[in-house]
């Protein structure tokens, strides 16, 4: 089963579609979670997911905005979609019947 960050990365890559590459995925994750995403976490997770066959990466084109440096483009594979779906289903199933709003009043921090 996927880890939480692995799921976030796959979901961000799927949302970005053809424009999924390192910096864009990082921005997407930071924008949606409101948490910092470090370069180390991003690139080591990309490698791990690629090794598992859940996504593919290749070097894309260079842009002046990046100082003429190439992008590491990302595409989620069918196996990756399957793994993300399984993770999402598990989270949905385990959350069924749980009301976080109601728990706020019961559990004190």
């Amino acid at each position: 089963m996927l880890g939480e960050f692995e799921y976030l990365l796959i979901a961000a890559a799927v949302r970005l579609g053809e424009d999924a590459y390192g910096a864009a995925i990082r921005q997407e994750i930071e924008g949606t979670t409101k948490h910092r995403c470090s370069l180390g976490a991003l690139y080591t997770t990309l490698d791990r997911l690629e090794a598992k066959g859940l996504l593919e990466t290749w070097m894309g084109e260079a842009t002046p905005q990046r100082g003429g440096r190439a992008k590491r483009m990302v595409r989620v594979t069918a196996k990756g979609i399957q793994a993300a779906t399984a993770f999402y289903d598990a989270v949905t199933r385990v959350s069924r019947g749980v009301s976080w709003e109601a728990q706020r009043g019961v559990v004190r921090p």
Binding site: Y21, Y43, T44, M59, G67, R69
Partner: protein, 251 residues
């Protein structure tokens, strides 16, 4: 980001694979984050990458070779003493009584020939050890190479004449003989050849014949160094025991 920050980012990113370096530096440029933040981010990635490389056995084996730098340093210091003597003989040749030279068996020709031979041997040993270190380390060479250079310095510090050689105390009270010459010899005969060897060893394109010959030379070097290091350890242990009032034992 300032130019200094970019320079640091470029230096730090040299430890990454070329493709990844390009992508990461591009991401940093695109994100527009501050120099400090970019450096922290990059450092995090470099540490993770380096840690990942240490899952392999080769960098650990290279780590075993690192202390041989101490042996090279001590060899360089020992050679430095011969340099001192021969330089002095060359410098004062006219003033020395030829009878003394004849009786002691000292001659400029023999002295220079011996120095050249021993220097070449030391350069070869340093290059071989550097080559093996580079071959085994490759991408962990920033860590193993730095540790190796540190052991060279430690060996130099331990072995320099002002600490252990009191026979020619007057000569070694001069900075030239006690500090400068040993450092110059260490740099020229050990540091530069070993760095060159590391670079050659880490290069995958080194021809197989050169690689085989280098490993052979390295095996001979280690064959010579291991008994010498063993002897140094035994002597050090004996001195330590003697300092504690115990009887030295060599068996």
């Amino acid at each position: 980001m300032t130019r200094v920050s970019w320079w640091l980012v470029n230096v730090l990113s040299q430890t990454l694979e070329p493709g990844e370096r390009d992508a990461v530096c591009g991401d940093i440029a695109e994100s527009g984050e501050s120099g400090g933040q970019a450096l922290r981010d990059l450092l995090g990635l470099v540490v993770r990458r380096q840690a990942g490389l240490w899952k392999d056995w080769r960098p650990w084996l290279a780590l075993v070779i690192v202390p041989f730098g101490m042996w090279l340093s001590l060899r360089s210091v020992s050679l430095g003493r011969s340099y001192d003597l021969n330089l002095w003989i060359i410098g004062n040749y006219r003033a020395i009584d030829p009878v003394i030279l004849r009786d002691t068996g000292l001659s400029v020709l023999n002295g220079v020939a011996s120095l050249v031979f021993r220097s070449l041997l030391l350069v070869g040993s340093a290059w071989s050890i550097g080559f093996v270190l580079g071959s085994l380390s490759r991408r962990t060479i920033p860590i193993n190479g730095t540790l190796f250079c540190l052991t060279l310095l430690v060996g130099e510090f331990v072995g320099i004449p002002k600490h252990h050689f009191y026979v020619n105390g007057a000569v070694y009270s001069l900075t030239l003989y006690s500090v400068l010459l040993p450092l110059i010899l260490l740099s020229v005969l050990v540091l530069l050849p070993s760095l060159w060897g590391m670079q050659q060893g880490a290069r995958p394109s080194t021809p197989p014949i050169l690689r085989t010959l280098s490993w052979l030379a390295a095996a001979l070097t280690f064959g010579a160094a291991v008994p010498a290091i063993g002897f140094v350890v035994l002597v050090a242990a004996a001195i330590w025991r003697r300092g504690r009032g115990e009887t030295p034992q060599f068996n």
